[in-house]
């Protein structure tokens, strides 16, 4: 790589992102777009992801970033990537780093996890130094090389990045321990100098992979960096290494330093200021001692944090005056297209919906059926029929209506193995197919000839009744105009003398519970006409259900037109489909239980009458 040693990142840096952290990756790509560089993420590593790529935005366009199972694999396919953004959890970050140590092309590893065991952190640091690799972290937000490369979430929102001038290089090399104050320092530098040239938050752990000095020695060699700012903390000795380097002339550029935690001297060990690690183990480690040592070595140390901006401004203007810092021409910043979902949430844009749903809602604390939470459905003891009422017809059925629906479902649940639907189900199950396929082949036979009579009966009886046809006129009409038998009339064996008990029960229920049974009464008049011609032309189960459903919906306040729409939509047939599915599933399970072999229809049951086409 043609990048000088003192730079960890430039405009061409490509990184491998360990962990499918969509938000952080998108933020990096937004940054890339704003600073006008190509996407900085070459690949993602996510061992448990089943996907092989993920889509992201780069400006308004979408791009695809491949996902790999291991860092080694990702590195092999992306030899240009020399940065690993190790966003693994505290449990996994250590092995992920060890794996990256074995990949020669990886030069810099950023570890964000907090809570990595110190023993592991220290070992990673030692090994990285031996291998000549750079670790930033653990427990850090990362850092930024303005105009070139942003580590994940460093700098916060794009608005803040631009406001803090982190979108183009300035003259300051910044090192902090805290990630929380990184933005603040960038802001101070943007307001009192010309912005950050490179900024690194080394992380709050006891054994950071690299220290202030490691990065400041790079800054010393980097001609873009004109002066440096170090924000340290009470605890540890890392600041003293910088003090020594300044004394020894290893660092010659101006340095501004400040250690936070000067308050602790007033309260001794009694009060824990800041996080638990920020505690002075000895006098040397207090903020005051470190500020004093820095000041004595020639580092510019303010009297307090509030004076820091003045010191920064002073050094900046001095270097400007000496001609060491040239004025910066501010680049144009392309606007980042706003995320649609966010804009909608904030009420900034509006968008038509493609779908409408009026029966259920899964967005709240609990899913609802027509506004009724499922728990309430259970607590109030609603039946299957009540649930059908809510989800199919958007109303709470009165008891008499749900009682009838429940009866219908029970009545139509099965009719033996020989009917076409059950037969199909059994044959399919025996072909080794699954539940869905077997059930579907059964349901697919339901139509005008099988099970469809409920719809037909409802439709024709209703029409005749509304047109005030006499039963005789109706029978004639069906024969001469529609040219079909009256749906819902006729049974294979049952007759007036041998009535169908199921029909008797349905009729009895309706008589006792329905407010009105106009259409049933009419149908029974029609039955009188048909049975006078032939004994078995009775109102059968389908017919009874069909006409009673019409009576039911009328009683519920549906208009004649509403009911026609229901019938056309197949809503009446739906009761048969639902009920009979119970039977089909039973037949399927029966076949599986019996473990029957593939069914082949016997040839002696088929009339073969095959002739070769003439003249061929």
């Amino acid at each position: 790589m043609s990048r000088p040693d003192y730079l960890l990142f430039d405009k061409n840096t490509k990184a491998i992102f360990w962990n499918l952290n969509n938000a952080a990756i998108q933020r990096m790509l937004d940054y890339d777009y704003v600073v006008g560089r190509s996407p900085s993420i070459a690949a993602i590593v996510a061992p448990t992801s089943e996907r092989s790529f993920e889509k992201f935005f780069y400006g308004t366009k979408e791009i695809i970033i491949p996902i790999y199972k291991s860092t080694k694999e990702a590195a092999k396919f992306h030899p240009e990537a020399d940065v690993l953004l190790n966003f693994a959890s505290f449990r996994t970050a250590y092995p992920v780093t060890l794996e990256a140590f074995e990949i020669p092309q990886i030069r810099t590893i950023i570890i964000t996890a907090e809570g990595i065991p110190e023993r592991y952190a220290r070992e990673m640091r030692v090994k990285a130094k031996e291998l000549g690799k750079w670790i930033i972290g653990p427990a850090t937000v990362g850092g930024i090389a303005p105009g070139a490369f942003r580590i994940a979430n460093t700098g916060g929102t794009i608005e803040n990045i631009v406001a803090s001038k982190l979108h183009r290089p300035g003259s300051v090399g910044l090192v902090t321990r805290s990630g929380g104050l990184f933005n603040e320092l960038s802001n101070i530098i943007a307001r009192n100098a010309d912005g950050v040239a490179e900024g690194i938050a080394i992380g709050g752990d006891r054994f950071p992979g690299t220290d202030f000095l490691d990065h400041m020695l790079r800054f010393e060699k980097n001609p873009q960096v004109k002066f440096m700012i170090l924000l340290g903390e009470v605890g540890g000795e890392a600041e003293y290494k910088v003090v020594e380097a300044v004394k020894n002339g290893l660092i010659t550029k101006p340095v501004i330093g400040w250690c936070i935690g000067t308050i602790s001297k007033f309260f001794g060990g009694e009060v824990q200021f800041g996080h638990a690690g920020a505690k002075a183990g000895a006098d040397r480690e207090t903020a005051d001692a470190k500020n004093r040592a820095m000041r004595e070595s020639g580092i510019h140390v303010p009297n307090n944090f509030n004076e820091l901006p003045h010191v920064i401004k002073g050094i900046y203007e001095m270097l400007r005056g000496e001609g060491k810092i040239a004025p910066i021409v501010e680049p144009e910043v392309p606007p980042i297209p706003e995320d649609l979902n966010k804009a909608i949430r904030e009420g900034k844009v509006r968008k038509g919906t493609n779908f409408i749903c009026t029966i259920s809602d899964d967005r709240g604390e609990e899913a609802t059926y027509c506004g009724v939470p499922i728990s309430e459905v259970i607590e109030k003891g609603l039946s299957i029929a009540d649930v059908i009422g809510l989800l199919w017809f958007k109303q709470k059925f009165p008891t008499w209506a749900s009682g009838f629906i429940d009866m219908v479902i029970r009545v139509v649940a099965d009719h033996g193995p020989a009917v076409s639907g059950a037969h199909n189900t059994k044959v399919t199950a025996r072909a080794g197919k699954d539940l869905m396929s077997s059930l579907a082949t059964g349901i697919l036979t339901i139509g005008p000839r099988f099970g469809g009579a409920i719809d037909g009966a409802a439709k024709y009886f209703k029409m005749a009744y509304e047109k005030k046809m006499s039963p005789n006129e109706f029978a004639e009409y069906m024969k001469n105009v529609e040219k079909i038998p009256i749906p819902g009339i006729g049974h294979r064996i049952k007759s007036t003398k041998n009535p169908d008990k199921r029909v008797e029960l349905l009729k009895d229920y309706a008589r006792r519970n329905f407010p009105k049974i106009e259409l049933l009464d009419y149908a029974l008049e029609v039955e009188k006409v048909t049975t006078s011609k032939k004994e078995n032309l009775i109102l059968n189960v389908d017919g009874t259900i069909g006409v009673l459903l019409v009576d039911l919906f009328k009683a519920l306040g549906y208009s004649n037109e509403d009911i026609d729409k229901l019938i056309d939509a197949g809503a009446f047939n739906a009761f048969f489909v639902l009920g009979r599915s119970i039977g089909f599933i039973g037949h399927y399970l029966d076949e599986k239980r019996l473990d029957m072999p593939l069914y082949r229809h016997p040839t002696d049951d088929i009339l073969y009458d095959v002739k070769r086409p003439e003249g061929f």
């Binding site: 110190e118 640091r125 929102t157 929380g180 933005n183 009470v234 000067t262 009694e270 944090f305």
Partner: protein, 435 residues
């Protein structure tokens, strides 16, 4: 967190539970310790630990602080060493629990004690061994002169640095070749130290000190143990630690308000911290973020007003509106109990750095809720509010809080990132001088 002090009792318990894995049958350790707390039932304790009635005892506080011998807080004799009975120990502990004591300049109450058998031994049998974790590696400390005067004899302690990547064999070699010459049975002592070091390393101890260590034959007595573990390693070795509590150590008794916030903090995924420094102080802080909170406290002190700094605290990690409200109410309640004797208004600094992704407007909702509840008291006491914050949605947040305060008749100044973070401290103190 990271390195956490553990009780002597827990340290010895961990060692005893893992003894076989590290010391096999080469050394024997008869673990006899009981931890006594204010909840302990002294009547029934001997039923669980019959040895309490069978042998002379030693009792001492187990609250993370050292030099207990020098502080006169080790009971090992009534009339002569080794004559402490169970009843003596119980009486002594009960009495000590009631007294207020001062340890390292901090006043408070003793709550946790350890009772163990008294082990008669000669001073020359007292060895010292300790392990610590440092930048360049682990350090092993070995000495033939254990006991309470080890620090006076520090020149006799042999220190060995074990590099972080050293193998077990390399560590063993380094330890065995550096055993102090004064130790009589070098082989036995060395063998013990090598095994203990491996335990220290494997079980993610950060500090491990036995002083004195008494060895009689193959029997080992850990008369005093100080330990820290790296609590982040709980996912690696938590099972081997067993149930482990991390006490905050001996400290000033918490005020009810501090206790309330501590409980809130423990229940929450966010961080809520409150320490009362001086309830009569006039400068109160409500700061978001650990780093920023320190900077605000620093700045008040550096400007010469440390005596007026009433509290230290921080809230961070996206607390809910309710949590923020409770936190702020607690501070406002303390702040509005009395007018300041000088008659001057009190100062409330609502500060914070530029947030990364925390929605500032949302956080301020909780503060405004608390303002509404305490507005009258705040007006009575006289409070000037200074706000400075940046980050997502900060303009909306600042506008809201300004409007709310004005409607409630509370004097307020609000600033965003255009003002230096701690400059509200300067502004508040300058206006203060002008008053």
């Amino acid at each position: 967190m990271a390195q956490r002090g553990i009780r002597e009792y827990d340290g010895k318990r961990i060692i005893a539970q893992n003894w076989k894995d590290y010391f096999g049958d080469t050394f024997e350790y008869d673990f006899k310790s009981v931890l006594v707390t204010p909840e302990t039932d002294f009547e029934n304790l001997p039923k669980e630990h019959p040895w309490l009635l069978e042998m002379p005892l030693v009792a001492k506080p187990d609250m993370l602080f050292g030099k207990r011998g020098k502080l006169g807080l080790v009971l090992f004799k009534v009339n002569k060493p080794g004559d402490v009975t169970y009843q003596d120990a119980v009486n002594w502990i009960k009495q000590k629990m009631q007294e207020e004591v001062e340890i390292n300049g901090v006043k408070g109450h003793l709550t946790h004690f350890l009772i163990e058998p008294f082990v008669p031994h000669k001073p020359e049998e007292e060895y010292y061994v300790a392990f610590s974790m440092g930048d360049e590696g682990d350090t092993v400390y070995m000495s033939a002169f254990g006991g309470i005067d080890v620090e006076e004899n520090w020149d006799k302690v042999s220190e060995v640095l074990i590099p972080p990547t050293a193998t077990d064999e390399e560590a063993e070699k380094l330890i065995k070749s550096n055993i102090p010459k004064e130790i009589k049975d070098k082989e036995k002592y060395g063998d013990f130290v090598v095994r203990a070091y491996k335990m220290f390393r494997d079980l993610h101890f950060a500090y491990f000190e036995v002083n004195p260590l008494v060895m009689v034959g193959n029997k080992v007595y850990l008369l005093d143990f100080v330990g820290k573990v790296d609590d982040t390693a709980a996912f690696v070795v938590g099972k081997k630690w067993g149930e482990l509590e991390f006490p905050s150590g001996f400290g000033r008794d918490l005020t009810p308000e501090e206790k309330y916030i501590k409980e809130l903090d423990e229940k929450s995924g966010s961080s809520l911290k409150l320490t009362i420094l001086n309830p009569e102080g006039r400068i109160w802080t409500l700061v978001a973020g650990g780093g920023a909170s320190v900077v605000y406290a620093d700045t008040v002190a550096d400007m010469g007003y440390v005596n007026e700094l009433a509290n230290y605290g921080e809230y961070s990690g996206n607390p809910t509106r309710t949590e923020t409200r409770e936190y702020v109410k607690t501070v406002l309640d303390l702040m509005t109990r009395n007018k300041h004797p000088s008659g001057k208004p009190k100062i409330l600094l609502i500060g914070g750095a530029i947030a990364n992704f925390t929605d500032v407007a949302k956080t301020f909702d909780g503060i405004i809720d608390a303002f509404k509840e305490y507005a009258e008291k705040m007006r009575q006491v006289g409070i000037r509010i200074y706000v400075r914050r940046g980050g997502p949605n900060y303009e909306v947040g600042l506008k809201k809080i300004k409007q709310a305060a004005q409607e409630l008749g509370l004097p307020i100044e609000v600033y965003g990132p255009e003002l230096h973070m701690t400059d509200i401290v300067r502004k508040a103190l300058e206006e203060e001088k002008a008053v």
